[in-house]
């Protein structure tokens, strides 16, 4: 019961947050000197009349406050409006969301299933050769900018011919059998997910190592060891349980990054994901598209945090015990 009240309270708190986020982002975009019609204006064959029609269609002739209100009214009704090119924002998003989800889920699955064990091992075998090797590789992974690494990978693909150069599917994808389709997608996914994997793995692995080290140093672990428990029990039953709590909070943030985390990599790999769409939309001040994706990002962030907090309540009895102690 307490849990439900807590969730309801959190959900209620999101409303003003959403309003503030939308206000700030709307006005920042609209007050930036970006003109959504710039390209049309510089086209010698576009007449003033066509321009006027576009201005009217995009509501650019109205004061900015009115523009915001009409956007907000439509948004509450669930209508995301149209892009500046006249396509429905909702269909545009629907086209891209599955692609981005596919990429980020693959990456998250890979990093977590590799990063956590590596973190545990390197903490347990602190200062060993293996730990040092991991430290070096992690530093490299953290130091390489993602776009640069992505370009390196693209060159690798061109030189070896083992992987396709960007995209998600080959041009004859629709004529393939189901098995070949899967192979095709996997081939396209290897490089972008490898780039994202390498980069987020280092951080995660270091985080896990640090958490684990902290716990391994604490008195109760010493006590458990002194009591004569087996190393396996010490590490997995006592240490891990406590070390993993901060990781759950981290997972909440990862959830928020699900849809927007990989824009640069997507751009370099020409991956048809949401990140690339939003990047292009921001460049053109395509307000409806940008707003829809920003709102989606905010909602994802809030939900992610909420889920993390609920998970924490389940895993950590201390939090459960204290009344409303969660912030």
């Amino acid at each position: 019961m307490k849990l439900w009240r807590y969730i309801a309270k959190r959900l209620l708190q999101t409303v003003p947050l959403l309003i503030i986020v939308s206000l700030i982002s709307f006005f920042i975009i609209r007050l930036s000197p970006i003109d959504p019609l710039a390209e049309l204006r510089l086209n010698p064959s576009i007449s003033q009349e066509t321009l006027d029609k576009e201005i009217k269609r995009l509501n650019l002739d109205k004061p900015i406050g009115i523009q915001y209100l009409s956007w907000a009214k439509a948004f509450i009704k669930g209508d995301f409006g149209y892009t500046s090119a006249g396509e429905k924002v909702s269909t545009k998003l629907k086209e891209r969301i599955p692609n981005t989800l596919l990429l980020t889920l693959v990456v998250i699955f890979m990093t977590w299933s590799v990063g956590i064990p590596l973190g545990i091992i390197s903490a347990y075998k602190k200062e060993s050769a293996f730990d040092r090797l991991l430290t070096v590789t992690a530093s490299i992974g953290m130091a390489i900018p993602s776009f640069f690494f992505a370009i390196l990978m693209l060159i690798f693909a061109v030189k070896t011919g083992w992987f396709p150069v960007g995209g998600l599917t080959s041009y004859n994808f629709n004529d393939m059998s189901f098995g070949n389709k899967c192979v095709d997608i996997i081939k396209h996914l290897v490089l972008p997910s490898f780039v994202l994997f390498t980069i987020s793995l280092s951080g995660l692995q270091r985080q896990m190592r640090a958490n684990m080290l902290e716990v391994m140093d604490s008195d109760y672990i010493k006590f458990a060891r002194a009591k004569g428990l087996s190393e396996f029990k010490v590490v997995f039953k006592h240490a891990l349980r406590n070390a993993v709590n901060p990781m759950i909070t981290l997972l909440g943030f990862e959830f928020a990054g699900l849809l927007s985390g990989a824009a640069l990599t997507e751009y370099v790999f020409q991956y048809p994901g949401l990140g690339r769409l939003i990047l292009e939309a921001v460049m053109k001040s395509d307000i409806n598209l940008v707003m829809a994706s920003l709102m989606m990002g905010t909602i994802m962030l809030i939900t992610g945090n909420l889920i993390a907090d609920i998970l924490l309540m389940i895993t950590d009895p201390r939090i459960r015990g204290v009344n409303n102690g969660i912030v």
């Binding site: 000197p33 003109d35 010698p44 066509t50 149209y82 006249g86 693909a157 396709p164 960007g166 020409q270």
Partner: protein, 613 residues
């Protein structure tokens, strides 16, 4: 000691590896033939003929007979098409893709640039009457015949009604009137223009659309019509007439076209074209990605620029592609000077009066022009793959004024004309006749490496004259906003696209009330007549030029407009890149043309199959 030796060895090995990676400069001797691959000596096939087979009036291609089947993959840079509605395209990608789906009555001869029949069988011009004869027996992709009804509908209900992109309507408008349109019978129509009007014939290249498919949407007005045929439309529904049908559109990845098996063009064996089964556009975000895709063999055609040309040239001999030089690009790259002398809505000067005195002075502009080092730009920025430009018409335009020879950079001429205008050089600093230091801003759009480099070079050139130039690359959108709305700029480096065939298309730039009259932009509905004498002359030229019909009559008129701009220099032209394109050797029936490029005859192009070699 051992340790030290070990580290020295490591460093040595590492260094050697690095050295192997460093690319050596391209030897000088290659640079001469960078621009080879010229297309002067190409033998073009005869012009298309009309043939009648079983009562159907086909268009017959005279190109060598090829092999059916296969596909070619090309690239489209950017975000992909925004619509397949040929009446509502506002960007180049959408226009070229919609253009594949829908043919116009007439088309442009790819080599000479004259207007020739396409969907129409033939046409006659009698004074201001244009009679168009349609082909009998040809069909839309759903089997409905193409008749005069469709043509009348396209022009009356879409073009004249102002649906979609109104550029064609504006171009057809003669002194506020649109041409009359009559249906003589099911396969004959007649246009009557209020008076003879040269650009009119070219407007008949406008794509004809099927009435039965478009009418339900065009009846509902602009907003419904604009959304019609957007990229979510299921391809099977689309009724079209072109050589290719839409097969699938995968957002941000590709557009696939397949052969229209009932196209009205046949080859010399009277077999229906096109040869290709599929034409695939891969949507790529930028040119770097395009190059990688070409190298990986994913695309078949690649346009090369600057530094890449030499590299590809060297590799050409042992490769599976051939490089063509298609001549200078028809877009223009220029330095524009703000001659405006107006205040904004708040009553503040767009350009301060001190600067107005400089910019509105022709001698000042002449000094700038003579100081600009075009040859240096071509050498350093375009890597030799460009030609200097001095005219408002692009170098491939059929109306290019060849009398204008241009001039090299000459600081002395600049100094002389500055002196004439009363400017004084003191200690290397230039002052005007009232003692104000000459200092102004130079803008261009950030992100374009070429333009930013040009800006740096121009800044240096002008600072040699003692001017102080604040070079500011800004975001493209903000620059356009400055140029077309706020007008608080001094000089800018910009580029515009242009038509190599019809100088009248430049009227938005050159006529004093045009929405793109960059150098002296007047607000909308501006009443005051504050035109320069030469601006009045330009207005007259563009009005007069459109009313003359033959090329012979029009050429001198448009020659004059280029001379005026060359003399007055509100816009100082810089250079035109040369278009160099690589295409795989397996693609046959390629007859490159300076006007139309490589793939204009996509319905005649075929692929040599690998096993035949």
């Amino acid at each position: 000691m051992k340790r030290v030796l070990f580290w020295i060895a490591v460093i040595l090995i590492f260094g050697l590896c690095l050295k192997g990676c460093v690319k050596k400069d391209i030897p000088e001797k290659y640079s001469e033939n960078i621009l080879s691959g010229n297309i002067e000596n190409i033998l073009y096939p005869d012009k298309n003929k009309n043939v009648e087979i079983n009562g159907v009036e086909y268009l017959q291609s005279q190109a060598p007979v090829g092999k059916f089947g296969g596909q070619i993959v090309v690239s489209a840079i950017g975000e992909g098409p925004k619509t397949f509605n040929p009446c509502n395209t506002k960007d180049a990608t959408s226009a070229s893709m919609a253009g594949l789906l829908y043919d116009g009555l007439l088309t442009t001869e790819p080599v000479t640039g004259e207007v020739i029949p396409l969907l129409a069988k033939s046409f006659e011009i009698r004074g201001n009457e244009y009679v168009i004869y349609l082909r009998k027996g040809i069909k839309w992709t759903d089997g409905t015949p193409i008749t005069a009804e469709d043509v009348i509908y396209t022009y009356k209900d879409i073009v004249y009604a102002g649906l979609g992109n109104t550029a064609t309507r504006d171009a057809m408008m003669i002194k506020g009137k649109l041409p009359e349109l009559l249906k003589l019978d099911d396969y004959t129509i007649k246009f009557i223009t209020p008076e003879p009007f040269a650009p009119f014939l070219r407007q008949l290249t406008y794509p004809i659309v099927p009435k039965h498919y478009f009418k339900p949407y065009s009846d509902k007005g602009d907003s419904v019509f604009n959304a019609f045929l957007n990229p979510d439309t299921p391809p099977k529904q689309i009724v079209s007439s072109g050589a290719f049908k839409l097969k699938e559109y995968v957002p941000a990845q590709r557009v696939v076209f397949e052969r229209n098996s009932d196209y009205y063009k046949v080859n010399l064996d009277n077999k229906k074209l096109p040869y290709l089964d599929k034409l695939i556009y891969l949507i790529v975000g930028d040119t770097n990605n395009e190059i990688l895709k070409f190298e990986a063999g994913e695309i078949d055609v690649l346009s090369l620029r600057g530094s890449n040309v030499a590299r590809y040239k060297i590799k050409e001999a042992n490769s599976n592609y051939k490089i063509y030089n298609l001549g200078a690009d028809n877009g223009t790259l220029f330095l524009v000077i703000n001659l405006g002398n107006r205040k904004n809505k708040e009553g503040k000067w767009n350009v301060s009066p001190i600067k107005q005195n400089w910019f509105r002075n022709r001698d000042f502009r002449t000094a700038v022009d003579w100081a600009v080092d075009r040859d240096g730009m071509i050498k350093n920025i375009a890597q030799g793959v460009a030609e200097p430009l001095f005219t408002a018409e692009g170098l491939s335009s059929i109306y290019l004024n060849k009398e204008i020879k241009g001039h090299p950079k000459d600081k002395n001429v600049s100094k002389a004309s500055l002196e004439k205008a009363g400017f004084k050089l003191d200690n290397g600093i230039l002052y005007d006749n009232k003692g104000n230091r000459v200092e102004f801003d130079l803008y261009t759009n950030a992100g374009s490496i070429d333009r930013e480099s040009i800006g740096v070079m121009i800044k240096q050139d002008l600072e040699e004259l003692g001017m102080k130039v604040n070079f500011k690359p800004i975001e493209f959108n903000s620059l356009v906003n400055k140029l077309s709305n706020t007008q608080d700029w001094d000089m800018a480096i910009m580029g515009l696209t242009g038509s190599p065939l019809e100088p009248h298309d430049g009227k938005n730039v050159w006529m004093s009330n045009g929405p793109l009259h960059l150098f002296n932009q007047r607000p909308q509905n501006y009443q005051k007549d504050d035109r320069f004498d030469w601006e009045i002359e330009l207005d007259n030229i563009f009005e007069e030029g459109a009313l003359k019909l033959s090329y012979k009559d029009r050429k001198p008129i448009y020659d004059k407009y280029q001379t005026i701009i060359y003399n007055e220099k509100p816009i100082i032209y810089l250079y035109s890149p040369i278009r160099i394109t690589a295409i795989r050797k397996k693609i046959q029936n390629i007859f490159p043309s300076k006007l139309s490029g490589l793939l204009y005859n996509i319905d005649e192009i075929y692929v040599e199959k690998e096993e035949d070699k």
